[in-house]
């Protein structure tokens, strides 16, 4: 039977992984991810979870071991953060280009140097071009739900790509919230057996990843792009299916709050969307026509959904918790490029980068920034611009 218990984000992920019953888990300790793997180790040693845990000597080896196990027919899982993800980056590409389904949880933390263990999205967005389906949760329940859905999406024959689920370190990872844990039997029936495009297990001679000429290689990479496009329908279908079975549907690739009648829109990803929604509720009470679009899936980038919601907007304010140094926030760049697929005339699209390296940005900060931005558009602002808001208290 489903039950609601108080869980940190890390433990919510671990409980979801337990229900997915991976054959092999490989991971390396890193703050703030470690409690996921600690919890899974406890489940394995107590006999609750029948998985093989490979306690590797580095993150590079963690994902490499997962890759090997997945290729040989196992359902696999790993988790990491920040420097760990950067260290395994080579294998991140290797896995997706081999079209091998697997799931990784990323507990975000900014990138060194200097030493800093607090969260922003810089580690997550750094993997943008790696061919993984990338989703980001807003709260612990969604972290649980997305982790389970990740296995379903990854192993869907129209997709066959690895999936990465992001949550912010500490804000979610170490904060307890009520989370509904699903019934084991029900999940098993819904998720089904491991599916993958090929298995290298010695039952027949098979080569994977040998020297390949340019045209064949390009064809393979084109296949990833096609799979990414197809995965959008899979993501929406899995979200609806999950909603029907387990009672929570999130809207597919994006979640919208008060969007139907809004003239202005704030766009964000991750846990601070909660603060953003709080700020916009207050602004709506004061008469501002404002909605929030929360990006749940960063890859594939949901430009159709964004256009569907943002067409006709008077102003769009994109909040990025990461910066592409020398350019802008990464969601902003994609959003502008995405909207230009549909129109040559954009409303002012303003990019606000904030919350970098774990700086706290609260509802009151969003409130001030949004009020000022709407004011600027109302007084005739015609073009978008970029602004790095460094909140100091």
């Amino acid at each position: 039977m489903p039950r609601v218990i108080a869980l940190t984000g890390n433990h919510a992920v671990a409980y979801a992984v337990k229900l997915a019953k991976p054959d092999v888990i490989a991971a390396y300790p890193i703050t703030p991810q470690s409690p996921i793997v600690e919890k899974l180790s406890e489940m394995i040693e107590s006999g609750e979870l029948k998985s093989s845990m490979i306690r590797v000597e580095s993150e590079h080896s963690a994902l490499a071991a997962c890759f090997g196990a997945a290729v040989a027919g196992a359902r696999v899982f790993t988790a990491t953060s920040s420097q760990g993800l950067l260290y395994m980056h080579e294998v991140v590409h290797w896995a997706s280009r081999a079209r091998i389904p697997m799931v990784m949880a990323l507990v975000s933390r900014t990138i060194n140097t200097p030493w800093n263990i607090w969260p922003d999205h810089s580690d997550f967005v750094d993997q943008r071009d790696a061919g993984w389906i990338m989703a980001y949760a807003m709260d612990n329940q969604e972290a649980f739900d997305l982790t389970l859905q990740a296995f379903k999406i990854s192993e869907d024959p129209s997709v066959y790509l690895p999936v990465m689920i992001g949550i912010e370190g500490f804000i979610l990872s170490h904060t307890a919230m009520p989370v509904e844990i699903l019934d084991e039997k029900q999940v098993e029936e819904w998720l089904g057996e491991r599916k993958q495009p090929y298995i290298v297990d010695g039952s027949e001679p098979l080569g994977l990843g040998g020297l390949t000429p340019p045209e064949d290689t390009e064809d393979m990479f084109y296949g990833i792009q096609v799979a990414m496009e197809k995965s959008k329908d899979t993501i929406r279908r899995v979200d609806r299916e999950y909603g029907k079975l387990f009672g929570r549907e999130y809207g597919g690739l994006v979640s919208c709050y008060n969007c139907s009648d809004a003239k202005y829109f704030a766009v964000a990803m991750g846990s601070w969307s909660g603060d953003l929604i709080e700020a916009t509720s207050k602004l709506r009470d004061e008469g501002y026509s404002l909605g929030v679009v929360r990006v749940r899936f960063y890859r594939p980038f949901p430009h159709e959904d964004l256009w569907g919601t943002l067409r006709g907007a008077k102003g769009v304010f994109v909040f990025d918790r990461a910066i592409s140094f020398g350019a802008w926030g990464p969601i902003y760049t994609d959003l502008v490029a995405g909207l230009l697929q549909y129109t040559s005339k954009l409303p002012p699209v303003v990019n606000v980068v904030a919350g970098i390296a774990g700086v706290h940005v609260g509802a009151e900060d969003f409130y001030e920034v949004l009020k000022s931005l709407i004011g600027q558009v109302e007084s005739g602002l015609e073009h978008g611009y970029f602004k790095w808001v460094r909140v100091r208290r």
Binding site: D23, V24, A26, S51, S52, I54, R55, V56, E57, S58, H60, S61, A62, A64, A65, C66, F67, G68, A69, A70, V71, A72, G73, A74, V76, E90, V91, W94, V200, D201, G202, S203, E204, P205, L206, G207, L208, G209, G210, L211, T212, P213, D216
Partner: protein, 302 residues
């Protein structure tokens, strides 16, 4: 070798697993080693191959010159990927397939060392084979930590390498894994029996195969086996097995415990262009290095 000493052929058929038409250089030691491997395991192997000469030798997609399973993996990851494959097979109940990490000296002694040490320490159930051609041959003969003292490479182009060869087998002995062996393409029967022995043991097994490379070591391709044998006969490369905490010298190396039975190292060096301008004091240093290696081996002898 007299007629009475000729050994029976190894039990493989040339077209069973190692197919003709691979992309190896003339005189390449790697197909020799692969043929011996196929004599032991047939096609029931999964080779986990990081960047190395073998990546190229087995041919271009969609073809493959080995009738066996190969997973090509990132340079540093052979031992880690092989660990994952082995764990997956165990969880899925597949027991008739041997997982083998198959890597060169660069992928083992250098970039793959951490993953190798990790897999060894975890005692993963797999065989790790390092074929040791003593430099980065696939990228064009650059120095590796397994390159011996005094050897010319394209990154030690004038003075030769100024450090001794890193002894990876010794490092694996220090991990106390169930089985470590040194072998040579000059002695296929010895390699065959070591692979058979490795096959009968559970846990982490490591075999380092000395593999003379004609273009990299600068010798005539017809001398691959001769140079491999000279490395052993001069005592430079010691053939042994480490098992249950003890070392056993293999047949060809056994008499060489007595230094007077070894051929002079100069015989080995002079056939190789990579030692053409080696300084005399470096030759002396190589002689000391050989003595040190034998002293180390002696400590573990039965």
């Amino acid at each position: 070798m007299s007629k009475s000493q000729v050994k029976p052929p190894l039990p493989y058929s040339a077209r069973d697993v190692v197919l003709p038409g691979d992309a190896a250089c003339h005189g390449c030691p790697i197909p020799i080693a692969l043929k011996v491997l196929s004599a032991v395991f047939g096609e029931k192997v999964i080779l986990v191959v990081p960047a190395c000469c073998t990546s190229v030798i087995v041919g271009t997609y969609p073809g493959q010159s080995l009738r066996a399973s190969i997973i090509h993996v990132p340079f540093a990851s052979a031992a880690a990927v092989a660990s994952g494959v082995a764990q997956a097979l165990k969880m899925r109940g597949v027991s008739d397939v041997q997982v083998i990490a198959w890597a060169g000296d660069g992928g083992t002694a250098d970039i793959g060392m951490a993953a190798l040490s990790g897999a060894a320490e975890r005692n993963e159930d797999l065989i790790y084979i390092m074929y040791d051609n003593e430099a980065y041959m696939n990228t064009g003969i650059q120095r590796s930590s397994s390159t011996p003292l005094g050897a010319w490479t394209t990154t030690t182009p004038i003075t030769g390498k100024s450090e001794h060869k890193k002894d990876v087998a010794k490092i694996l002995v220090a991990h106390s894994v169930p089985y470590v062996a040194t072998a040579s393409v000059g002695y296929p029967h010895d390699l065959y029996s070591k692979l058979q022995r490795a096959r009968s043991i559970k846990g982490f097994r490591f075999i380092q195969i000395h593999a003379p490379c004609p273009p990299g070591w600068r010798f005539d391709p017809k001398y691959t086996a001769r140079i491999a044998k000279l490395a052993v006969e001069t005592g430079f490369w010691i053939l042994y097995e480490y098992h249950n905490g003890k070392i056993t010298l293999s047949g060809p190396s056994r008499p060489l415990l007595d230094p007077s039975k070894r051929r002079p190292i100069e015989e080995y060096l002079k056939l190789q262009g990579r030692y053409r301008s080696i300084a005399p004091e470096l030759i002396n240093s190589i002689k000391e290095y050989i003595e040190d290696n034998w002293s180390w081996v002696k400590r573990y002898l039965l």
